[in-house]
């Protein structure tokens, strides 16, 4: 089976998953005993005609499945309107999601920088004090309440040393953003892709050569990234260690040693085989990061997806919730696909 058929088959099996996710989201929202329209409009602006208008618009006078079908068709055609903000749901998501991408990326860099070297060290020096330290580091990381760690990081890096700041997200200049937005018109197709990438503020700034914005972004967001590296780095290190040791114990290593290969060559083989499970875990981790970290975004004051979702849930704003869940489900699916494809690239034994 080729790559194309594999992708097609996966896409087909994922359609029920996406629909199921949307349905469950909707049913949760439907189960709320309160009247969502009142929550949207606010108690003061209780103009009965306006209320009726909104009710009819979102089909609250119809049975629930008609509401659901309405929401999904509007969502898929990109027409769904956020009733609280009175504009298209995606316009808000397109502000929030790039910020989450930045946070996820910086967090991921820390995760890899802390997790993989520690894991490799622990595998090379098995049963030494480094190995023991990695074990304790992993256990402490998974036992620390994240919000307490965030508080103390803020105390150390912001309150005492002022090496970061806790408000706003650095954006490229207006001229740069205009230039990126004009790309799709000048270069069809490829321009769309480039401008989508450029919608992440950090990448956009890099495209225009505004490196101070990139540096500012790192200064603003390295603390949540560091926190993530400290919390999950040990776990990643343990996985790296275990899978490298598994690979080291296999027969081809013995054979390579018997053939008298140099140590470096042997490690290259071990590395290639040992990294396969690591890639799965890292991929899933990155996918999880892309759906936003609610607690980190709350404590570090970041306007990302997690916070948006939380606000929408507490405001019963379920057109927004449905749109965000749709995005999450797609992220989950894409991460899974990418992990599968990476598998096959690293390990030629795996066929689709």
């Amino acid at each position: 089976m080729g790559l194309a058929t594999f992708l097609l088959r996966r896409a087909v099996t994922f359609i029920p998953t996406i629909l199921g996710v949307l349905l469950i989201t909707y049913l949760i929202a439907y189960a709320i005993p309160a009247d969502p329209v009142r929550a949207w409009v606010g108690e003061k602006l209780m103009n009965p005609e306006r209320l009726q208008e909104i009710r009819e618009k979102y089909k609250f006078d119809k049975p629930w499945y008609e509401q659901f079908i309405f929401l999904v068709t509007e969502l898929l055609s990109g027409q769904l309107e956020d009733p609280v903000r009175q504009r298209n749901v995606f316009s808000e998501l397109f502000y929030r999601f790039p910020v989450t991408v930045e946070v996820a990326l910086i967090g991921f860099i820390f995760l890899v920088l802390i997790g993989i070297p520690l894991g490799v060290l622990a595998a090379i020096k098995k049963d030494s004090y480094i190995d023991f330290f990695v074990r304790i580091f992993a256990l402490t990381g998974s036992s620390l309440p994240a919000f307490v760690l965030y508080y103390f990081l803020i105390l150390g890096f912001f309150v005492y040393t002022h090496t970061t700041y806790l408000a706003g997200i650095p954006y490229p200049t207006q001229a740069c953003r205009d230039w990126i937005n004009s790309l799709p018109a000048t270069y069809p197709y490829i321009g769309n892709l480039v401008s989508a990438i450029g919608s992440v503020p950090m990448f956009g700034a890099a495209m225009c050569g505004e490196w101070f914005v990139v540096a500012d972004t790192f200064k603003r967001l390295y603390l949540p990234g560091l926190a993530l590296g400290l919390l999950n780095g040990g776990f990643i290190a343990r996985i790296v260690r275990n899978s490298l040791l598994d690979a080291l114990g296999s027969e081809y290593v013995l054979f390579a040693k018997a053939r008298g290969l140099r140590k470096l060559r042997i490690w290259r083989h071990v590395f290639k085989n040992g990294m396969i499970p690591v890639i799965t875990v890292l991929g899933i981790n990155f996918g999880g990061l892309l759906s936003g970290a609610v607690i980190a975004e709350t404590v570090f004051n970041i306007p990302g997806m997690g916070r948006y979702m939380y606000d929408s849930i507490t405001r019963l704003n379920f057109p927004a919730i449905i749109a965000a869940t749709f995005l999450f489900a797609i992220i989950y699916i894409i991460t899974n696909l990418v992990v599968d494809i990476l598998y096959a690239m690293i390990d030629p034994r795996i066929r689709y």
Partner: protein, 362 residues
């Protein structure tokens, strides 16, 4: 660590004794199993971090059971009303405390040590309930899906996929914000259930609104928790299902239920036990995180995550002691379970256990 080994062997022996009383001859029929357990006890007693974890878990469990009875200040009494000096009082050294609490007080003037005794119970009960309900649900679905295969498998696994595709915390937030009102009206009517649950959580029955929030956190977490178990159990069942002994059991004519519970389940159980131990740590932190976001119980219930989030406003000037104290408590509870799980993983896996057993002989 010889003491630990002896205690564990005593527990195994007394269990065998009880089984013998129920059905005579049980210990002779299961002598190999008892021997295996004793070997596990030996391997466990060799692991220092495992023993440490076991001790922490034992103490935490004990505190959770007797904590609310020991607490010397009722959590619903706001002492700050009588004495404004008690507002966020920092810790002090014992001889110079002049009657104020040694570890300091929170914003209502309550002694934080006394408060934490209630907090232990709440955190412990929530994490235990989540794992004890979520794991069997996932195991059952995973067993059925893996063993039956075909359409049933497909339906269950698609459902699992749907739940895994959600970010767990977000799904839990959604459920935890939807459920309380319904549970509250349920508790209003069913007073016996309300009283029982209040007793279990160590709260007053009057606080059933907060109890409803706690229970909705619990249910929300169960909904998030089962898919992980279903997936792992299904995977293990798929590999066990093809083994000859299952075929033999089928040929003998055992019912599906018997094959699942007597032959497949014991073979997939040990990784699940390890996962449950780790999950008790995760569930403790997860519940605290939900309360931290404001979805759990509110005043005056002393949920650890909620207490920390309240203290966040005046951090670090007035509330360093609160964040530090409750943070360390959460860390210790989770660390205990994690250490225990880490050791159990080595002990329950026959391959690593052999290497521990034979180390002595070298």
């Amino acid at each position: 660590m010889k003491v630990v080994y002896e205690v564990l062997v005593k527990i195994v022996n007394s269990y065998a004794w009880v089984r013998d009383k129920i059905s005579p001859g049980w210990s002779t029929r299961n002598s190999s199993r008892i021997k295996e357990w004793k070997l596990m006890a030996y391997a466990f007693s060799k692991s220092k971090i495992g023993v440490l974890g076991g001790i922490i878990v034992f103490v935490v469990t004990l505190l959770a059971i007797i904590g609310p009875l020991l607490a010397w200040e009722p959590y619903w009494e706001y002492r700050v009303v009588e004495n404004p000096e008690l507002w966020y009082r920092p810790p002090c050294m014992p001889p110079w405390c002049s009657g104020y609490p040694v570890f300091g007080t929170d914003e209502w003037g309550r002694d934080i040590v006394s408060l934490s005794l209630y907090g232990f119970r709440i955190s412990f009960v929530i994490s235990l309930f989540v794992v004890l309900l979520g794991a069997p649900l996932g195991i059952l679905l995973g067993l059925v899906a893996g063993y039956k295969g075909g359409l049933i498998d497909e339906v269950i696994m698609r459902l699992t996929d749907i739940f895994i595709a959600f970010p767990g915390l977000i799904l839990a937030i959604a459920f935890a914000s939807v459920l309380p009102q319904r549970i509250r009206s349920f508790l209003e009517v069913n007073t016996p259930i309300r009283d029982l649950l209040s007793l279990i959580f160590g709260l007053r029955p009057e606080e059933y609104a907060q109890l409803a929030a706690l229970i909705s956190v619990w249910i929300a977490m169960v909904i998030v928790w089962w898919p992980g178990y279903a997936r792992i159990v299904r995977g293990s069942v798929l590999s066990v299902r093809e083994q000859p002994f299952i075929e033999a059991a089928k040929l003998v004519g055992l019912s599906t239920r018997k094959i699942l519970t007597k032959h497949i389940l014991p073979n997939v159980l040990s990784p699940i036990l390890v996962m449950m131990t780790f999950d008790l740590a995760t569930a403790t932190l997860f519940a605290a995180a939900l309360s931290f976001l404001g979805l759990g119980p509110q005043e005056p219930v002393p949920e650890l995550g909620y207490l920390i989030s309240k203290a966040g406003g005046f951090f670090p000037e007035r509330t360093m002691h609160i964040v530090l104290y409750f943070g360390i408590i959460l860390l210790v509870i989770a660390l205990g379970w994690n250490l225990l799980g880490d050791a159990l993983r080595d002990v329950l896996d026959p391959r690593t256990r052999r290497s521990i057993e034979f180390k002595e002989g070298e």
